[in-house]
Subunit: 397 residues, 2 copies
């Protein structure tokens, strides 16, 4: 399981700075630096509209190597054309110059409002501050600096024994709206001191993302900026993990845990959310059907508002399953809210009151058994509240 | 254009009754009866989970003929198994017996909560009242009786000159949540005294629905009960319209107008809606792409909350276009809010203030030109407000 207190892997330094990108009064830039060159892997948004830093990182990640990540909140640097490309490039070049490393090893990430040029006049001095102050901030401070509408900073760490030494995996992430599946749904940086071959790292990160960030939805809106970057600097001194290492399985398992826990924290802190909702579909004809069914339920505004209202209105779940495109038969479908079976073979079990009590839990689990096959899929989401509307009606003001 | 006051076509009688299905205090059942046998056509939900009356009507509509429609609000009679099938059948049989017509010519429609058996002990006496009181209610009274969370009854009529006589097309509909495309998205009954061959009627209705009810979304949730039924009793005395009639084109045009106006009324009265929002996508590579793009924007919670907040946050529109699956190039895309171009070739035009003013209109038009082809599609929707959450968090209480 994940640590109770956040541990930092060897050789990673952090700093934060205030560039007053959206408004003054908080640190809105972060820098992560590895004292040794790291193997790197990344997962990026599948949106056809990609932010300038995403396009830059997608080119650089091909090397499988890197030293630093510079990130800002408050402005996504998306839909900003050539100026946006130039700004993203300048950010990473400035950092590379100050840290005496190659620009190709510096990755940039932005999150915030779309369609406005970065305020480079305020960002330039902040970049200098970031480089000068390296090591003066913690991972949690960095998690704070990349927040937008998030209410809590998200950081998770876990230890793992390799060759009688303890390696560390640390992840930080931001949510909290425009969160939808089929990509890495947010900004997330995962750092480890464990040595691992770049190709193996890439495979491990993709496997973890498929079961965590890509099984997450807050509002069904896929962002232009979603990025998960992972750095492995090898300072633990272990023999680099490859596909054949005996330690690869335990490493993958820990990475899965860290990624899933971060995804859980993002769902829990979804814009306006009052509950974390886990949709678990089983008995589907195949994996694709299970995923379709789980996402249809997770993205249904009607299901999400019913959870918010403590209303065990399973008819909305059935309707969502019905339009999901997954093969299903109404008369075979069982639905559970928490421990209570609310529909059995497609019919009401008249357990509304008991189920309504289950909905009052901070973590709600909705289980569906389609009973037409053996495939299953889980999706994380949250409820839909008036607060989501308030946040997003006034996001830019 | 549609009439200012609602006209009723010849030979159609209406009645309403109170069965206190969800709660007492309002008429919640309606009966529509044609004094002459009518040609009938129907369009039904594509949801794999279909309500009992939908399954019944889908079988009966194959005859292309009918005399009556009996409808209730407050309970959808969906996910109710064999009991539901028996209840739907009994409703139509009871009406057929009292009106001395064949059960096969009586169509049933239900709307409301899913997963609960109809309260037949209260519905049976109401069915008798309906049959006894035929002719004592107006079409608007019937529109009232089928409302659920709708705030206004929806009725539209239009006249059309055929062979020197004036025929009438009348439509009534209910919305207002669980409204999403790819089927007839609600209960809607369209009545006319114009004579028309059943096959031609079916083709005309499908053509109208494709451009109206199937281009409509309130919340992206497809219902189990959506039904559009059309009756043409021929009492105008014209030579029945067929594919070759000179009057078919004007008839189709009027039917299109009535259907579109009803769809507009449903969007305008969408749950919690404060604005009607029309999304018009042009310049798409093909029709399917245009539809995908328009629906992605129309179903985006973030776009809908931005409209509610008068925030011309076109970045959210661009992000939705980007994940829609439609072929697009960010740098070719133009976006207009009302008359104001907010993005040109993918870039900000800095017209936020002017665009924000356009958003304050009761009818907001968002136009997108993808500039990669010649296809276009329009979709109707509404904004997303706190009121939607309130309505749906407490729908069953």
């Amino acid at each position: 399981m994940a640590d109770k207190t956040i541990r930092t892997p060897k050789g990673f330094l952090f700093s934060t700075a205030e560039a007053a990108i959206k408004k003054p009064g908080r640190k809105d830039m972060a820098l992560i630096f590895s004292t040794a060159e790291a193997a790197m892997a990344g997962v990026f948004t599948l949106n056809a509209v990609k932010a300038a830093p995403v396009k830059l990182d997608m080119r650089r990640i091909r090397s499988g190597r890197g030293r630093a990540i510079v990130a800002n909140s408050g402005n996504a640097n998306a839909c900003t054309g050539r100026q946006g490309d130039a700004d993203a490039s300048e950010m990473t070049k400035t950092v590379a110059g100050a840290l005496k490393t190659k620009p190709a090893g510096v990755y940039g990430c932005s999150t915030g409002v779309i369609g406005h040029a970065l305020p480079m006049t305020r960002i330039r001095p902040a970049l200098r501050t970031l480089c000068e102050n390296l090591g003066k901030a913690s991972a949690v401070d960095a998690a704070h600096a990349i927040m937008t509408t998030d209410l809590i900073p998200k950081a998770v760490s876990a230890g793992i024994r390799i060759e009688n030494k303890t390696g560390t995996i640390l992840g930080i992430a931001k949510g909290a709206g425009m969160i939808c599946p089929r990509m890495a749904t947010m900004l997330c940086f995962i750092l480890t001191d464990i040595a691992i071959a770049p190709r193996t790292l890439d495979r491990c990160l993709r496997a973890s993302a498929a079961k965590s960030f890509n099984r997450l939805t807050v509002d069904g809106d896929m962002s232009t900026n979603d990025t998960v970057l992972m750095m492995a600097n090898g300072l633990l001194g272990n023999k680099p993990l490859t596909e054949k290492s005996e330690f690869l399985m335990p490493f993958q398992k820990k990475l899965d845990e860290v990624a899933y826990e971060l995804a859980r924290l993002v769902a829990l802190d979804g814009e306006g959310a009052s509950r974390l909702v886990e949709i678990a579909v089983s008995g589907a004809r195949n994996g694709q059907d299970a995923e379709k069914a789980a996402f249809a339920v997770a993205n249904s505004n009607l299901v999400k508002t019913a959870v918010y209202g403590n209303d065990a209105n399973w008819g909305r779940i059935m309707a969502a399953l019905g339009y999901s495109g997954a093969f299903m038969r109404e008369e075979k479908t069982d639905i559970y809210i928490g421990r209570v079976r609310v529909a059995s073979g497609g019919l009401n079990t008249s357990k509304d009151r008991e189920a309504s009590r289950e909905l009052k839990s901070k973590h709600v689990k909705i289980r569906v058994n389609l009973n037409v096959g053996k495939a299953s899929a889980n999706v994380l989401t949250c409820d839909l509240t008036e607060e989501y509307i308030k946040i997003n009606a006034s996001y830019r003001s």
